[in-house]
Amino acid sequence: MSPKAQRADRLTAAVLLALGLAFLAGGAMMDRLEIRHIHPASIPGLVPMFLGAILALCAVLLLLGARGPASETDAQNALDVSTPNLWITLGLTLVYALGLVGRVPFTPATAVFIACFVAVFTWPAERDGRERLMTLGRSAVYGLALALVVSTLFRDGFLVRLP
């Protein structure tokens, strides 16, 4: 395990421990429904309590496993990835899903999202105005076409009232 993985495990263990204890407390404080004279062994909080305790135990074991010297270096575990690409993807998808859908009609929202996505990720590196214009045009046509296809399919084919 690399130092980075160990740090991630320690952080996760802390979060899971908190979650487990919260679930344990939530289950314990849950209504026992005495007013309905239910059997004490069938209270709604029983399984959440049990799960919270088990998760807390697993978190402690995870924490114990992340101690000691690292067996690998971070470089050995490095992945060939692009963090900016991840943030751009996350940004575009969240703006579309949480910002546009429900506020803007589905078809234009989808067309804008797909066009922006394609344009951003296929944007030419060299400063050739004509090439960039072509990229924008291609992305817009592709986005609009796909948005129309998906909208028509769901609205007319599956009778879904689009957001």
Binding site: L19, L46, V81, L90, L98, G102, Y142, G143, L146
Partner: protein, 513 residues
């Protein structure tokens, strides 16, 4: 004989132009989904579920089964041609498929993969027809105590087998899934739990939005995060594109064995196709006289891997139909789809719809014939499909991830659930937490919760029936042994007792199919 008659009757009942049309388009779509790295069988089945609401029951289930079979098979295409498994199920295929392609035998490798997939599925279908009815009848004798242990067993075994290096992370993923299932009205007293005043949570968190997020959106993020894969230059379509019968006859033992192993792996709850492929591959390598060839372009290795992963599909449907416990992640989506279309999988299926299992077997056979036909005839077309740039594909996939779950309930809230599970799934995967136990937890949470409390009520709070009834005791012992085997000290001791050769190539890792 009765079973064969029932099976042939079910097959005859499916024979219509509409059926063949559905088989054609859904299998092609499945192969397309499977052959594109980044689109998984689970994602394909989940997204297609949302497109089947308007179809009648049999057509909808047929379409989903064809998608499932096609996607698991389709993963072999990119594994052979690009050394990138289209789905995790094809990771073992890449070990020998890609070296064969590099030697100019891409066409023949794909033909062998097609034959292996078809034969593996057929072995699985035979076992489905043989095993599902008696298992369904045996499950009729299960009480609350047994169902509780069955749910625990599913989580434990799935966590153990899909977590790669750390079973603890598999268990944690399973527990998180069970916790998600605790949200909403409880199954016994209808008491709302953990809704925090959000009325949309009163009914719980939907399986489809959660799964589409965990498998679909998370995959979109993963694909865009990775740098562009280097496509190896292989002479696609080169070499013979039909399998030689002599080769298939020579590997008949491997095919039969891998088919049985794959099916048995499929029966184990929540384990899935990738483990089926690795288990078959490992055993074929151990028993092969051509052991040295494995990992360098062994035809036997390729056949074993493909037969193994495809045999998991019918195997995974055995517990799904008879116990409502999925054998794999795509089977979990299928269970949800069955409920949507008015089928109640579980022990009662043999009483309520005894013919349904034979219908499923007939659907699987049609899907198998379709992958054989398309696999052998459309090699060049699928090579072209793999050239679709991810920048054009992923926004469309995300759009479908968004509108699919929304279409089911027409609630914007389900879009938020999908997004939340997508981000959670991506983060958990980055830290080596497997997704199948999480999904299995969401599905089995209600079963575990209701049966533990019902069992305790029946026994008046006494825990002993959970350990003294024969099937319960067997489950309890099995679970204890499984957990013990995941303790590092015990594993080291077992490794000393049963030394074994390590596989060449990568180790089996559970992934989302």
């Amino acid at each position: 004989m009765d079973r064969l008659t029932d099976f042939l009757g079910a097959l005859g009942g499916l024979m219509s132009f509409a059926t063949l049309f559905h088989v054609t388009w859904s299998t092609l779509l499945g192969i397309f989904v499977g052959s594109l790295p980044g689109l998984t069988a689970t994602m394909g089945v989940a997204l297609l579920t949302t497109l089947t609401y308007t179809l009648d029951r049999d057509a909808a289930i047929l379409v989903l089964i064809c998608m499932y079979v096609g996607a698991i098979y389709g993963g072999s295409r990119s594994a052979i041609l690009l050394n990138i498994p289209g789905t995790p199920a094809s990771a073992a295929t890449a070990l020998d498929g890609f070296p064969l392609a590099q030697r100019g035998e891409a066409g023949y490798a794909m033909a062998l993969a097609t034959a292996g997939s078809a034969l593996g599925t057929i072995v699985g279908i035979v076992l489905l027809v043989l095993l599902a009815p008696p298992l369904g009848e045996a499950a009729l004798g299960f009480g609350s105590f047994e169902f509780f242990w069955l749910a625990v067993f599913g989580i434990v075994i799935s966590g153990q087998l899909t977590a790669g290096g750390s079973p603890l992370k598999g268990y944690i993923a399973g527990i998180l899934g069970l916790m998600v299932a605790m949200v909403g009205s409880d199954g016994i007293h209808a008491h709302v739990r953990f809704s925090f005043g959000v009325s949309e949570l009163n009914g719980g968190i939907g399986l489809i939005p959660a799964m589409v997020g965990a498998f679909g959106f998370a995959e979109v993020l993963t694909v865009m995060w990775q740098r562009r894969a280097q496509v190896a230059s292989v002479q696609t379509g080169s070499g013979r594109s039909l399998p030689r019968l002599s080769d298939l006859w020579r590997y008949k033992g491997t095919i039969g064995r891998s088919g049985v192993i794959g099916t048995l792996v499929g029966i184990i709850p929540g384990v899935g196709e990738d483990i089926g492929a690795w288990a078959s591959y490992a055993l074929a390598r151990r028993l092969s006289p051509e052991r040295a060839e494995f990992g360098k372009g062994s035809r036997e290795g390729l056949t074993a891997a493909e037969t193994g992963n495809s045999a998991v599909v019918p195997g995974a449907l055995i517990p799904a139909l008879t116990l409502a416990v999925p054998g794999s992640a795509p089977a979990a989506v299928l269970i949800a789809a069955l409920f949507i279309h008015g089928v109640r999988p579980g022990p009662m299926i043999m009483l309520e719809q005894p013919q349904f299992i034979y219908s499923i077997a007939a659907m699987l056979l049609l899907a198998t014939i379709a992958i054989a036909v398309f696999g052998l005839s459309l090699t060049r077309f699928f090579v072209m499909v793999m050239r679709v740039p991810r920048e054009y594909l992923m926004p469309v996939v995300f759009t479908l991830c968004l509108i699919g779950p929304y279409a089911l309930t027409q609630r914007v809230f389900d879009i938020w659930v999908m997004v939340a599970f997508g981000i959670l799934g991506f983060v958990l995967r980055r830290m080596d937490y497997p997704m199948p136990p999480l999904v299995l937890g969401i599905i089995l949470g209600d079963l575990l919760d209701k049966n533990l409390r019902r069992g305790l009520t029946l026994s008046d709070g006494d825990l002993s029936p959970f350990f003294t009834r024969p099937i319960s005791a067997a489950f309890a012992v099995l679970i204890a042994l499984t957990i013990a085997a995941s303790i590092p000290g015990v594993r080291r001791m077992l490794a000393r007792l049963f030394p074994r050769r390590r596989l060449a190539g990568s180790s089996p890792r559970g992934g989302s199919q």
